[in-house]
């Protein structure tokens, strides 16, 4: 308790610098979550499948990126780092999309019309396979990509925006805009939305919904691939680190409500900031708990509101 009071005191005494830094870094982190969550929300909304393996896909993307960047450094040591890091994103996107497609053909396709609980378990199984598989193939060592970017300091070094996070967040936003545009304006995107709204109607109109599902899942893979390469140069990748991202994406979707793209972005940014504040005030050991508890609390609040309308959450 004393600890919390002291932290609060610190927060107010050194305002605004601390607040600006916590908020800025939270937003940058939130942008990465937004990307990962967007993929999860897409699959959830269109296919009614919760992909627990989302985090493992992200980590896989990180590894692809890591090996690509390292290989390129060895082949061409004098080229600029940044070039390869940015190029590694489409590489990771394609690789993870292909992997996701294999997963789709082997497993997801068979559980499309089953209830969501089956999807939760099946993708959890995939997560287990991927975790230990990556552990065997890429070794248990923590991996990072060192982007060697400068940090931008403001207000006498009290507010610092790391270049890598800035790059990660901006690339994440670019990718998100591209994907949202794709879903909104392309023919493929129209098919996705039609399928999400009404499967039967979409089928009658001649849309190959199964193909739409396959494409959606692969698109999610591509998103995870991109997010993974960002994670590799902003954070650390490790075969068993994926659940962190899955659970956060989960909390964000619940917070935003399914099928709410704008909500996902705001909820993700908000979560980044919220997480930093709860870590700062309560202590970092509370950070994860405070994120996960959002899920039941959000649901309870929504259930409570709906009950007043004599409805229930289903």
């Amino acid at each position: 308790m004393d600890n919390i009071l002291a932290n609060l005191q610190l927060l107010t005494s050194l305002a605004p610098t601390i607040n600006i830094e916590l908020i800025a870094n939270g937003l940058l982190v939130g942008a990465i979550f937004a990307l990962i969550t967007y993929g999860m929300a897409l699959v959830w909304g269109v296919m009614d499948i919760i992909n627990v393996a989302q985090g493992a896909f992200v980590i896989l993307g990180g590894y692809v990126s890591f090996y690509f960047v390292n290989a390129m450094f060895q082949i061409a040591p004098d080229t600029p780092r940044l070039l390869w890091i940015i190029l590694s994103m489409p590489v990771a996107a394609v690789a993870v999309a292909l992997f996701a497609h294999i997963v789709f053909k082997l497993v997801i396709e068979r559980i499309l019309d089953r209830d969501l609980f089956v999807a939760l378990l099946a993708t959890f199984g995939i997560e287990l396979v991927m975790q230990q598989g990556m552990n065997q193939f890429f070794s248990a060592e923590e991996r990072i990509i060192d982007a060697q970017l400068p940090t931008f300091a403001f207000m006498d070094y009290m507010v610092n925006i790391p270049g890598s996070r800035l790059l990660g967040a901006s690339l994440g936003i670019v990718a998100a805009i591209f994907i949202v545009g794709l879903v909104r304006y392309s023919r493929f995107g129209r098919a996705i939305r039609a399928t999400a709204q009404n499967v039967r109607a979409a089928r009658i109109m001649g849309i190959d919904t199964n193909r739409v599902y396959a494409m959606t899942f692969a698109l999610n893979g591509a998103i995870c691939g991109i997010a993974g390469s960002i994670v590799a140069f902003v954070y650390v990748i490790h075969p068993f680190q994926g659940l962190v991202y899955t659970l956060r994406a989960f909390a964000i979707v619940i917070l935003a409500g399914i099928g709410n793209v704008v909500g996902v972005i705001f909820a993700a940014l908000g979560l980044g900031v919220y997480e930093n504040y709860s870590g700062f005030i309560l202590g970092p050991e509370f950070q994860d708990g405070m994120v996960f508890i959002i899920v039941p609390i959000t649901l309870l609040v929504r259930a409570w509101i709906m009950r007043r309308k004599r409805q229930y959450l289903k």
């Binding site: 919760i50 497993v107 068979r110 559980i111 089953r114 209830d115 969501l116 609980f117 089956v118 939760l120 378990l121 099946a122 959890f124 199984g125 995939i126 997560e127 287990l128 396979v129 991927m130 975790q131 230990q132 598989g133 552990n135 065997q136 659940l243 659970l247 989960f250 909390a251 619940i254 202590g283 050991e285 509370f286 994860d288 708990g289 996960f292 508890i293 959002i294 899920v295 039941p296 649901l299 309870l300 929504r302 259930a303 409570w304 009950r307 229930y312 959450l313 289903k314």
Partner: protein
């Protein structure tokens, strides 16, 4: 109906006979047998909601963890020691925290009873709130609760925080694994008898009615909300006892890796009913046995790849055998002898 009931009792007696013989046949596998009893308890409790009522919970691990911490704490407290002092030693100085054999055994049993009672109310409360959400929202909400619980337990210094908490060392003369096995078996038999009885009561029918169509059940004026919460509370009781037994057997509680470990025990407890056949009495039990066999086999012979194998097993079960072994048997029986009469037992959640 009466005939089905008799066959249930016969099956129970057969199970009891095998379970009594097991320690003599497999004296070197005692701790695996204790785990098996724990698994049967958590599988049957999960099935009360997941199988009988169609509410798939990921949050039963909450009761498991609370039960474990409660039993450990009760033992320390009844041994005459301060919990804060005991845990500030971080599992050290165990020589100065000793209890006599009678105190150890009684405190274990009282701890289990306390865990059972307390978790009944926890289940009732959490259930009355969370069970208002339905379908996958319930699954997702309980999942969040289960993971969060472990994180918060890790911040409580009085429970040892992230350093975890040791159980008291069993004193000389206490054969802990044997004790846990018989306690576990006793609870399992109690639970089986309770379930056989419950499924013939009006309460049991309401449970199945909720599974088949909750809206209609509610419209018929059945007390669905009460039945849902009370069922979960009963499931919580047996899950908590299982948690206490498991923790005492493992001797060491880590908040996120042992007590509230959603990715392991928390998922296994719903995998087992699925393997055996959910919504049946013997399905979860069969599932627990099968799961334990598979798990031990994987861990022994697939060093480094065991989780891959487990993951594949999960995928194969949910994709290809969603009705489990009992479902397969029923399907076979229906093909051979025509449709079974009692739909309540073999019915699958819609």
């Amino acid at each position: 109906m009466a005939q089905a009931r008799t066959s249930q009792w016969i099956a129970s007696l057969a199970f009891l006979a095998i379970a009594i013989a097991a320690p003599f046949v497999l004296p070197n596998n005692m701790s695996q047998l204790v785990d098996l009893m724990v698994f049967i308890l958590i599988a049957l409790s999960w099935d009360m909601l997941g199988g009988q009522m169609g509410y798939n919970s990921f949050g039963n691990i909450l009761f498991f963890g609370i039960g474990m911490y409660l039993v450990a704490s009760t033992q320390v407290w009844m041994g005459g020691y301060s919990l804060a002092e005991y845990n500030s030693a971080k599992g050290g100085n165990l020589e100065s925290f000793v209890v006599t054999a009678p105190v150890y055994v009684t405190s274990l049993i009282i701890g289990l009873a306390a865990a059972a009672v307390l978790n009944y109310f926890v289940g009732l409360f959490v259930g009355s709130q969370l069970l208002q959400t339905r379908g996958h929202y319930f699954a997702v909400g309980t999942l969040g609760l289960g993971v969060a619980a472990g994180e918060f337990a890790g911040t409580m210094d009085v429970l040892g925080g992230g350093s975890g908490m040791n159980f008291l060392q069993p004193p000389e003369g206490v054969n802990l694994t044997m004790l846990l096995y018989w306690l576990g078996l006793g609870t399992v038999m109690l639970f089986i008898a309770f379930l056989i009885w419950l499924h013939r009561t009006r309460f049991g029918f309401v449970m199945n009615a909720i599974r088949d169509n909750e809206d209609k059940a509610e419209a018929m004026g059945l007390p669905t909300n009460k039945v849902k919460s009370v069922s979960w509370a009963v499931a919580a009781v047996f899950t908590a006892i299982a948690g206490g037994l498991y923790g005492a057997g493992k001797n060491f509680i880590d908040p996120t890796e042992v007590a509230f470990s959603l990715p392991t025990i928390g998922v296994w407890m719903l995998l087992m009913p699925l393997m055996g056949g959910k919504g049946t009495l013997w399905g979860p039990i069969l599932g627990a046995v099968l799961f334990q066999l598979f798990k031990e086999f994987f861990w022994t012979y697939l060093f480094g790849w065991q989780r891959v194998a487990l993951g594949l097993l999960i995928v194969i079960i949910v994709v290809f055998f969603p009705d489990g072994v009992m479902g397969g048997i029923n399907a076979l029986r229906e093909r051979l002898f025509g449709k079974a009469k009692s739909a309540g037992e073999s019915g699958e959640a819609a």
